[in-house]
Symmetry: C2
Subunit: 156 residues, 2 copies
């Protein structure tokens, strides 16, 4: 399957976020590994309508979420896990497309570091932004919001 030529823009950038959670690594990791937990904090956000959620949490698995914001175009996230070390590290690659047009391809490393009674989560995201709109700034802001949603999940 060869894509049709599109306007070519590839802006590469890396961001790294650190966030402390008042929950042990096993609980924070579980929020990524468990299909129901992940649906709560990662997939279902206010204002978004989920049209498909097909989790596939295993190395080589291919996970798909489809959603739209209000009446907006369909956005598709395809995630493939490259490394899973329980309670310690997760590496995955994900692609986003809007209305069938590729937006980005990203390589994400999440490290779960025990710290006192909680977890320091290190999130490193190396992305190629293809749509000429984002340069990683919006993605970083969106990821910070997801980290807040994760806090609500694991610190309940």
């Amino acid at each position: 399957m060869i894509s049709d030529p599109i306007a070519l823009t590839a802006v590469h950038s890396t961001f790294r976020l650190e966030r402390y959670y008042e929950a042990p690594p096993a609980r924070v990791f579980h929020a990524f590994a468990d299909d129901d937990a992940k649906q709560r904090w990662l997939v279902e956000s206010e204002g978004f309508v989920t049209t498909e959620y097909s989790p596939d949490f295993k190395v080589g698995g291919n996970e798909v979420y489809r959603f739209r914001f209000g009446d907006g175009p369909e956005i598709v996230n395809q995630t493939s896990y490259l490394e899973i070390v329980s309670n310690e590290r997760l590496i995955f690659c994900y692609q986003m497309a809007m209305a069938g047009v590729p937006m980005s391809v990203s390589l994400t490393t999440i490290e779960f570091i025990p710290q006192g009674s909680g977890t320091l989560l290190l999130h490193t995201e190396q992305g190629a932004y293809l749509d000429g709109r984002d340069d990683g700034t919006q993605r970083e802001a969106g990821t910070r919001e997801l980290h807040e949603a994760l806090a609500r999940e694991v610190e309940r």
Copy 2:
């Protein structure tokens, strides 16, 4: 499939290489897309013994090369293509492991820019290096060597 815990090190780095080839974009792209051409310049290098070459050049495909240097441990490269725009752009994710231990996970964007009668190849590689040895420096040097091998392939 959940990996066993391993010593955790993740060093992230990005390198970007530019290389001019005296060959049009279609010919340079072909060297990545054609299984036989790719085997000549990318897979078979002096001193290396290839034990498996299973090309799978399509979006979502999973390509595998296995090789060893002399009597060294087996090295495995698994590549998955994320975007293919003929003669223009290629985005893929690849993992390397040595003797079964993960070495790296990388997201590579290759852009083929027409320049005069030739092609300017832009290679951007965003990597997570896991083995505590490389920080991207060796990979960058190895990639420069591959770009020379590519020149021998497309400028013949």
